[in-house]
Symmetry: C2
Subunit: 541 residues, 2 copies
């Protein structure tokens, strides 16, 4: 092991080199290939070009299909792991989306799984042989980054279910940022449009999946961090209520701020992948090992109850869903591609016979103000204590927000706690008054954002204040020929004006647009079923 480098810059350089060094030479791209990727705006198809036909078939399958192909012996775990390690290796070289690779460990694991399967004819759990990527907050035994750390509980759970872990994905400094920039790897951009951000904080997950290097990953969300990267990268995600899944022994920013908690969630290329992940992890009864987890098993009956409300063969549902639609939070209006995306969802579900009502909850700006106050309450002390360890500075984007300040007064902290609880009750009362099953909302007031222009995180943050469950589904892509700026728009305030002015149809062209479907606390099964119905409606339109 090398001696620690003298400063953070050289340690970052070393780190970048060590990620590359762990990629075998046969998977390294030539300077020509790298230059080609640099020259493309959309690089989502490039990884596939480097794969064999079988590898290509594997990484293009969704998580449930892969598990089936492993179970019926079509592919071995070694074949699957090879395909994903290779795809991730290439994805990282063109997409700069990984913090750690441990392909050797993954291949060894795959071999063990294959041996078991050959000997017994049975799989090692519901995730047997499925490669799963992890946001770089989760500790994995045997990895450099776990020195001094215990393995994260959910990591152990995934392994016990038969999964193969093979890489950790990039995230922004502090975790509290809707883009993915840090002093180690720099920036992870959006594979669909390299002029745009992949979102954050589980941004590396989003980018890796958009590139075809993963079909199922684990992220976290305290203000939108699994939803934003899903929406920005054209994939699916599930943000559960905190305490549904284990956060035990996961690295986190300011964990002593426990009033509004970060939550573990999944990102996947399919809703079925999210279902699989939720069902499997809950089957391990995580609450027995992590006292923060609420003992609610996967409720098949709730899942099926809502699934049964889908429309049948060409016929409208006999028990249609009632969905709310939040067109704007009345603080910052969404850009044209988002409004078109929302309309598309509304028309699709209406066409299938479901009901839509306009949704106008208690002013979301209140919730945003309260929520962000908790994230900033310690005056940046936790973040700066970590910066002090390495000597690295805050990245420029975060300098202002996390400047070191005196912590908030405790009486104000407790007053804000009450204000948050009051808001939560008012929101719940409003929900009851409308009797909707779920609500369709923007994830952000823009499609995958232009770096440096993420001015308003309220659309996701408010849902964290309520601890609601949410799923993100992809809808469309920004299209400069349709999504023309609305020149009659009158901004409501300065932030709205800044956001409105930031809409550039040329730059945004091709940016993925997703929406979040929101249900109440601990309604993960319900929101997945509804996401499936809504996605099916979209697919038919």
């Amino acid at each position: 092991m090398s001696a620690p480098a003298s400063n953070w810059q050289s340690r970052a350089t070393e780190k970048r080199a060590s990620i590359l060094a762990r990629i075998s030479l046969e998977w390294r791209l030539s300077p020509e290939d790298l230059a080609k990727a640099e020259g493309e705006r959309d690089i989502t198809g490039l990884v596939q070009e480097h794969l064999e036909a079988a590898e290509s078939r594997i990484v293009a399958s969704d998580a449930t299909a892969i598990v089936s192909l492993l179970r019926d012996g079509t592919f071995s775990a070694t074949q699957v792991a090879t395909a994903f390690c290779k795809a991730a290796a290439i994805a990282h070289q063109i997409g700069n989306c990984l913090h750690e690779v441990f392909f050797d460990q993954a291949m060894e694991r795959a071999k063990e799984l294959d041996t078991h399967f050959q000997k017994t004819g049975t799989v090692c759990g519901p995730l047997h042989g499925l490669p799963i990527s992890l946001k770089d907050q989760f500790h994995v035994k045997g990895m450099d980054t776990t020195m001094g750390y215990i393995e994260s509980q959910i990591t152990t759970e995934l392994l016990s279910l038969g999964a193969i872990l093979y890489c950790k994905t990039s995230l922004p400094q502090t975790l509290l940022f809707g883009e993915t920039k840090n002093n180690i790897i720099g920036e992870t951009v959006n594979p669909h449009n390299r002029k745009l951000s992949c979102g954050g904080s589980s941004g590396g997950e989003g980018a890796l999946q958009a590139l075809g290097g993963s079909v199922l990953g684990v992220g976290t969300d305290i203000g939108g961090s699994v939803r934003i990267p899903a929406a920005f990268n054209g994939i699916f995600s599930l943000k559960p209520t905190p305490e549904r899944l284990s956060y035990r022994d996961v690295a986190n920013t300011n964990p002593g701020q426990n009033t509004y908690r970060s939550t573990v969630g999944f990102l996947s290329t399919s809703i079925a992948g999210l279902e699989l992940a939720l069902r499997a992890t809950l089957s391990t009864e995580p609450w027995l090992r992590d006292p923060a987890v609420v003992p609610i098993p996967f409720r098949q009956e709730i899942f099926e109850l809502y699934r049964s409300r889908a429309e049948g063969d060409g016929k409208a549902s006999s028990r249609p869903l009632k969905l709310g639609i939040l067109w704007t939070d009345r603080s910052v209006g969404p850009h044209p591609p988002i409004i078109r995306g929302l309309r598309q969802v509304v028309e699709a579900v209406k066409a299938a016979g479901h009901k839509i009502v306009d949704w106008d909850p208690p002013l979301q700006a209140t919730a945003k103000r309260v929520h962000v106050s908790f994230l900033l309450a310690d005056g940046g002390h936790d973040i700066h204590s970590h910066l002090d360890l390495s000597g690295e500075p805050l990245i420029p984007d975060l300098e202002e927000a996390f400047e070191l300040k005196p912590p908030m007064d405790l009486l104000e902290y407790q007053r804000l706690t009450l204000e948050g609880l009051d808001y939560e009750q008012a929101y719940s009362d409003y929900w009851n008054s409308t009797a909707v099953d779920a609500v369709i909302m923007p994830v952000a007031p823009h499609a995958a954002v232009i770096p440096g222009k993420y001015y308003h995180t309220a659309y996701t943050e408010v849902i964290n204040l309520m601890n609601y469950s949410a799923a993100v589904i992809p809808v469309t892509k920004a299209d400069k020929s349709i999504d023309v700026p609305d020149i009659t728009y009158e901004p409501l305030n300065d932030v709205d004006k800044k956001n409105w002015e930031a809409y550039d149809p040329e730059i945004y062209d091709g940016a993925p647009v997703g929406v979040q479907l929101v249900a109440r606390k601990f309604e993960e099964e319900k929101i997945l079923a509804i996401a499936e119905i809504v996605s099916a409606c979209l697919a038919r339109c």
Copy 2:
């Protein structure tokens, strides 16, 4: 309505008079009766002396029996309400345990229920006609104390289930005290032994039930407040995990301290009464109206799974329970009556074939220190803001603890949050290592306490830090002829010495001894089933 009195003393006098004034003359005790009660040490039998045979039969029945007798028409709701209003009226005159009586409202309600029953032959819900008493934190529509308040959600739920509400019971100033003293009614003493305290903070509930004035009541617990009065008054209680039942629109001390939350619980003269209350309130799906409540319905399968582990007719259970026993928390050792009570439980369950293991969790003093820090963190600001409204002073017992001080520094508050979470995990790990079903613990290091000598609340408070579910069952009574002081005992520290010296066999003689049975988070069904099994074992010994 009278004009507000000029000072808190005269307002307190008025308040006391108004409670009495609402008791009809025919239920008022003569000076001779009052003098007789004053002269007795144990007054638990006195209320019965003033009741008719039918009334006596009603109030001596348990909650489930009363509900049955109403359902089969043996008694009308009016008869039942009359019996309880009368019993409570007499109980208050000799036991000083009520803050509010609303017998007129209760009788009117009973009449409505009877009319419904006569017309339809059906009951109005699972609690049809059952009188339920409420700790004076719960708001009831139409009562003076609710001016400006919304009715508490659980109050509305109980009414929707058919219950009759008739009185609110006494509690200590601040709610954060293991006895029941305040500037309004003075002190509520222990009906089993008037030299002792009824406990707190749901102390009026405990005393009222000991006197036969209620069979089911609603209290709250942030440090032991439904468990202590149950143990001290020889009744049963259930302290659920916070967020199992609704605390919405319930008056509370320092609600902005939301890290360790107070929880709504039940006190009853039977375990079946606790089951009835839990099952009924959960059937209303409180989580739909209170977003703080976790959506876990009453899980009959868990309840039955544990009930099935009881021993059969004279035969040991084929799947015996494994119970831990905490003899001491290693800070303050329990008095002889408590040790004898614990032994009695251990022997009874062993005799039935269940397994017992000594239980030695991570040092409980750590949890106690963390938990109490949160209760004191605001430096008494919330309490003093309430005192300022009336001008009343802190009662002498609380002067020192709640002296106005600067609030805690937020960074220390967040550091303590982490320390609490770490402790919770260590405790959970220890639990897993022992694989027990539940743990038998003291409720306090003494039987119903001598007023002013409650030095150590850790036995209950630690369970609040973990947010565990717990049930209290009565076991025995202190007996000066058996429970002799252990003169060889060497106190572990100053508090232990004070507590040890406070054991006076003469004064404690006749004091109820209960134990708490503790299970993990959201295991209310399980702990009730186990409490039923353990109680049955005790009854057979």
